[in-house]
Symmetry: C4
Subunit: 233 residues, 4 copies
């Protein structure tokens, strides 16, 4: 079967054209989805975006039906990871027709699943996956340690700053937000300590926070070194 080879394989010119076309349409669809959110669009632009929407969804529907058609085991494809994603990527378009317009907004988020389809085309993703599997245990350990640090930081800053800035450092949950913004070194500046105790505490936490960033970087660095070395042998 020629069609099967074009759709499922990547080794013919037709197959490559097919793959690239689908990838291009996924990106077009994502951009059009983003443009739609800009407030105050003209009537012509809205009409044009709707046209793109109809066009891309039509192609994606055709692609989905073809994939089901050429699959050796049709049911297995439908309930496979990519089968479900392919369906979720087109479903909101059809469902949203009948019901009210407000709900479309949330349902459309599913359109993002289209993006994940791109992963099918990337062989290189396997290498990254392998690197992360090598350090899975260490990363979990790091996440637990980071969680501990975040929690202790939140409780600490709560006791130091709650009296001085009750509106900002309202509860431990509000302090958790501060702890994440500080320890990831994002530092928006919406919340920061003003008491001397809070500043000293933050200083200690921020220095430890460098270590928190250092550990996963070190983990990824050593894992990638290992994966690259293994590929050479």
């Amino acid at each position: 079967m020629q069609l099967k080879r074009i759709i499922e394989e990547n080794d013919t010119i037709a197959g490559k054209v097919f793959d690239l076309t689908i990838q291009f349409l996924i990106i077009v669809s994502l951009i059009s989805f983003s443009v739609e959110t800009i407030p105050g669009l003209s009537e012509t632009t809205t009409q044009f975006l709707k046209l793109i929407e109809v066009a891309t969804v039509s192609v994606f529907t055709l692609e989905y039906l073809c994939r089901v058609y050429v699959a050796d085991n049709k049911l297995r494809f439908i309930f496979s990871f990519f089968g479900i994603i392919d369906l979720l990527a087109i479903l909101p378009f059809y469902i949203a027709r009948g019901i009210d317009l407000r709900s479309i907004r949330i349902v459309r988020l599913f359109r993002l699943f289209r993006m994940f389809k791109m992963f099918r085309y990337s062989r290189a993703i396997q290498r990254l996956k392998q690197a992360f599997l090598t350090i899975k245990e260490e990363l979990i350990l790091f996440l637990i340690a980071a969680g501990f640090l975040l929690y202790i930081s939140s409780v600490g800053i709560y006791y130091f700053e709650n009296n001085a800035q009750p509106e900002q450092f309202k509860s431990i949950f509000h302090c958790l937000w501060w702890a994440i913004v500080t320890l990831t070194t994002v530092g928006y500046g919406d919340m920061y300590p003003i008491t001397t105790g809070g500043k000293i505490f933050t200083s200690i936490v921020a220095v430890i926070g460098i270590g928190v960033v250092a550990v996963p970087t070190g983990l990824v660095a050593s894992a990638l070194t290992k994966v690259i070395k293994n590929e050479e042998n």
Copy 2:
């Protein structure tokens, strides 16, 4: 003794259930502690939180008594690191009964010690510990170097900015806060130089600051690579 094995070991189903239950209750207790700090909670929620408090502390007390009971050397357990933590985790609950309500707040901070109990269950923590022991000397050296840089930065910015912003860059101690926020690249934006000299000085300090973050990252990376390599052999 069956009970001893359940409490102290991890190799039976009952032992695993016991461990997971205690871990789950520690997390429940920490969440309930955090929820309590939210201002303006309803009477029902407060009652419910008090109930959780009584329940978890009861279980922790029972656990503590059991641990003392099954210990071969009872006194040694009581004065061991985890023995003291187990006691500190439940003590505030009983002490806070008799005395006035304001003091509870500070005493309750000890409840956080419950969190450290989780470390007992983690075997993986040993690996991280080993990595940090490998680079202990280098980390101390880095901390001293970082301390030098922080101090020099503070003194420098004090001379550049004190005249222009006397309220912000009040003393070298206030500048130390600025130095930490800048060198860890958190950058809240509560203090920043406005004079040309201060900006040039900060630029030099910030570029060196990249190195300050680079050194511990490099240390952790090489230590982890070493630990992983040693485990393979």
Copy 3:
């Protein structure tokens, strides 16, 4: 030919003097270009800067003509990468004479190409180039993954914050700006989530963002280790 050796090679004293003079004039020209942008310069300064401009461009023109003269294949040099850069570095000066003064501003940006000439003198740049070629595939993979994360973050924050801050989180494109500022941990503080949902979402994104910074760092670290090791053998 003596002149050819001085201009194209680096192994005589005259050749080294020639190279260092050109490098020095490039830097002088760049500084003078920067000083010109300071508003409210005195007439004397402006005159002095114009003098520097005439002087440097004269030398660069002479250099360009010499390079064309000594080249074995004149046409090949003119259309080579550095031949075009050498021409672009002097062209705006002559073109801007005839036309109106406003347009000079944009055309002058080409002067920056002078800076790239410095690369010709740096042999060490080859080593860095080699390190980046080693990890080219991984870097592309990372950039795609980073692009995915940026897009998903933007869409997510748009749904969480658009209702609460319609002016700040106006469209997915405005959110993309927020995503870049947050994931690179720059954190200007011009846009940040205020809803609970948005804060929780940002927390997850920021923690993943540490990984985003960790991957290229790890890649560069392993590539540089490899290049250094290869040079030793």
Copy 4:
């Protein structure tokens, strides 16, 4: 000579006590220097700080004279790196007596040189020095590349933002400050792009900026791995 051994060596108990005392006094002197900058100190505190000043400088003077006395080649010690630092650490105290009070402020900055004396005691500093010598060339290359990126970023943002925010992005030199704050990911929030072009440009620059931080981190990581490996063999 016993005195020579105590002062210059570290292998006797008296020698260790001497070294630790000097180190302790350096820290006391630095703290007292910092406390002095706090505005609104009471008369008693000022008097107490002056006492500490006199005491520490006396000891440092005595130490300096002893070091000159025990040195085999007195002139060589006086003009050595540490000889000059030792002198600079005490000189301002004596000079500041005669002249007016305002100038003391700047002269006192030399007191910071006392801090560098600590390096004499640290043997471990040699190891870090070795690691940095290994990657000296690469670090210089990185600094040049970083300089290029900073300059291009400044020029770019100047053209994008100068019209929209002439007060903030006044000249290329003002933009250089923005470029450093952004590329080091400090992100104070005192200057940020508001135009669409400026935001797109900043996004590209910020993503490249991750690489800028990644390169020295990778360099330090590989250099430290090498130094640690060499010490093991």
